[in-house]
Assembly symmetry: C2
């Protein structure tokens, strides 16, 4: 087992789960069904978001203890990104069933293999720069999970963002190894700007980064309260999973009927309401890179007049222009006098919008779906 980056050993009993499922509709036409967001390098690091996620987690759990849940169509791409991934650690979905099924199945499989396992689920397509800060938060989260809690990691907000959900924090909880843990009072949906500003000023709110850490058996127990049929299906599947003869028939029999529901609703909110959810405030930078404006911001920060160029072969000629260009072709892309522009140039689709309209890109995807143009989605 490899030592973690700061020289310390992996966390005992900890297993990372990376659900790699979402396409990232607001990043169309870059992200799409056959090239989802997690398979892109959105930071200019030279690595995909999935690879960066792996690099963050492997030192914490050990690289033999990272499980990926992804669609069958992405198996080859995932294995190419993660050559270290053990065969037993890839869970392939025959169809997307949302996060409760994806994370729940992984937890159920791991719990059968190792009853005391503590699992942590982390999206495959988020960006974190401060890896040490992230690791420190995970360490506290694992300690809190070991104490029996369901745990999330919330991000200390750096601005009144309206693109994220928030976590309202409650009282501190005395947990050995998790000195920063606080009770979660409630989850709140994406706010409007004045509400976000109030949240930021109050100091009592964190961004919901969708990170959940718990003993696998506790996670399933919590999910069972609101979704008993789902958990029954997941456990039946898990029981068959490690038998090559049984897995296929079990998947065919069970998976199609599983309910699609986000883990926020099946686990996090009920656990918070029941006083079983704690949050570790993370002091590290984090972004879910939900749209092209977020990608540009990752690279320019507050230097809003800059032009960000992504794409290793992108050839851009810009005159008095700012914004972001994502170039996936070898065409000359020329910008003349356009400000805060977003240009995404792919072989079969071109997007032109502005940073301010970046969230509306989903409307294009919806329109393409309606018009039957799923070949470019």
């Amino acid at each position: 087992m490899r030592a973690s980056r700061d020289g310390s050993a992996p966390l005992p009993r900890f297993y990372s789960i990376i659900p790699a499922g979402g396409i990232g509709s607001r990043l169309w036409p870059l992200s799409r069904a056959d090239a989802p967001k997690f398979l892109h390098d959105l930071t200019g690091s030279g690595r995909t978001l999935l690879r960066d996620t792996w690099e963050r987690l492997a030192p914490l759990s050990g690289e033999q203890r990272v499980m990926i849940v992804t669609g069958r169509a992405h198996r080859a791409a995932v294995e190419e990104q993660l050559p270290e991934l053990a065969d037993a650690n890839i869970v392939l979905e025959s169809e997307g069933k949302e996060s409760s099924a994806a994370i729940g199945l992984a937890a159920a499989i791991l719990a059968r293999r190792e009853p005391e396992v503590i699992v942590g689920s982390f999206a495959a397509d988020h960006v974190i720069g401060d890896v040490a800060g992230f690791g420190a938060a995970v360490r506290q989260a694992v300690a809190a999970a070991d104490a029996g809690y369901i745990v999330t990691i919330g991000i200390a907000p750096s601005e009144p963002a309206i693109g994220f959900g928030y976590i309202q924090t409650g009282d501190g909880v005395g947990i050995p190894g998790a000195p920063d843990a606080r009770m979660v009072r409630s989850f709140v949906e994406k706010p409007d700007r004045p509400t976000a500003e109030r949240y930021l000023a109050s100091g009592g709110y964190l961004w919901n980064a969708g990170m959940f850490i718990a003993r696998a058996d506790r996670l399933l127990e919590q999910m069972r309260v609101s979704e008993p049929a789902l958990v029954a299906g997941l456990e039946e599947l898990a029981a068959a999973w490690d038998d090559p003869a049984e897995r296929g028939p079990a998947v065919d029999r069970i998976w199609p009927g599983l309910r699609k529901i986000a883990i926020d609703y099946s686990v996090a909110e009920p656990a918070a309401a029941a006083g079983r959810l704690v949050v570790i405030p993370g002091a590290f930078d984090w972004d879910d890179v939900g749209d092209f404006a977020a990608i540009a911001k990752l690279q320019t920060g507050d230097r809003k007049s800059d032009l960000v160029i992504l794409g290793e072969n992108a050839r851009v000629l810009a005159d008095a222009s700012s914004g972001i260009v994502v170039g996936q072709t070898d065409r000359i892309i020329s910008l003349v006098g356009v400000q805060d522009i977003v240009v995404v140039d792919t072989p079969d689709a071109l997007l032109v919008t502005t940073k301010a309209n970046a969230q509306r890109v989903k409307s294009v995807v919806d329109a393409l779906k309606l018009s039957g143009r799923s070949d470019v989605l």
Copy 2:
């Protein structure tokens, strides 16, 4: 000889010359060396500008009396556009030498074939909607040319345009068949907005549309005053032109050394200064479609909020967007919340600008030249 559209016969002794040379840098990447502006349909008519020019002129001179001067590289495209074009009526330039050489050579060839010929030169890439109005102006111009004048047709300005040169008109001239002819006082370069507004208010200025009509011998006589070496070369070339054995060697010997100068400077301005130039005010609509904003305007007029789409296979999905899209690929082009945008999508180059910046597109072409990327020019 075919009758003209209004039923009248072609004008006696009249010969049309269409110099088809300019690339149209401000329309890059649509217009380029191997696909110059005159070979495009910029009006959505389904016909190229060259074909439209031919359709306007053939009824006036007869379709056996239209001469095209173009680059060797465009021969096949021109002949495809103009299947009626007689072999003797295509003059191929081995390299571009500006309008004095192009029009002067055509005039010299025609003058040898038919000493009394009256020639009219009209750009291959302008747009005129009112063909009858244009024809009426040409009729007056031919009458004035027959009376010995060098003649231009100026366009009554409909707005204080800053993208065109202007002609300052002088006194009326009594010419039989050309009741509207006036002396030309001077040519003025593209003005700034206040100057253009003053021109418009005064009523004494017309747009310079680059149309010149004269007896071929008078045109060459005028050109000889300021450019004697050029005209000597053109006449030597013309003397060899209709002998297949002599033409090639004469071209190789003479053409490369000819001076590059616009006919405005070699003929029009000196003729105006000498009191030998008259102008026929044209009441018809006219545009030189110099940039993408002009193309958009052709189609929307004053409905500035519209989105204009050019390109027979263009597939555009627009949400709250206006401007112009020129699509030469089969890609999906999606616009989200962009106003007055200009998007030109070609297989090897993409341009994104705004209508307000349309004139600056030439800067991209200049930058590409400097960087050695002439393959996309």
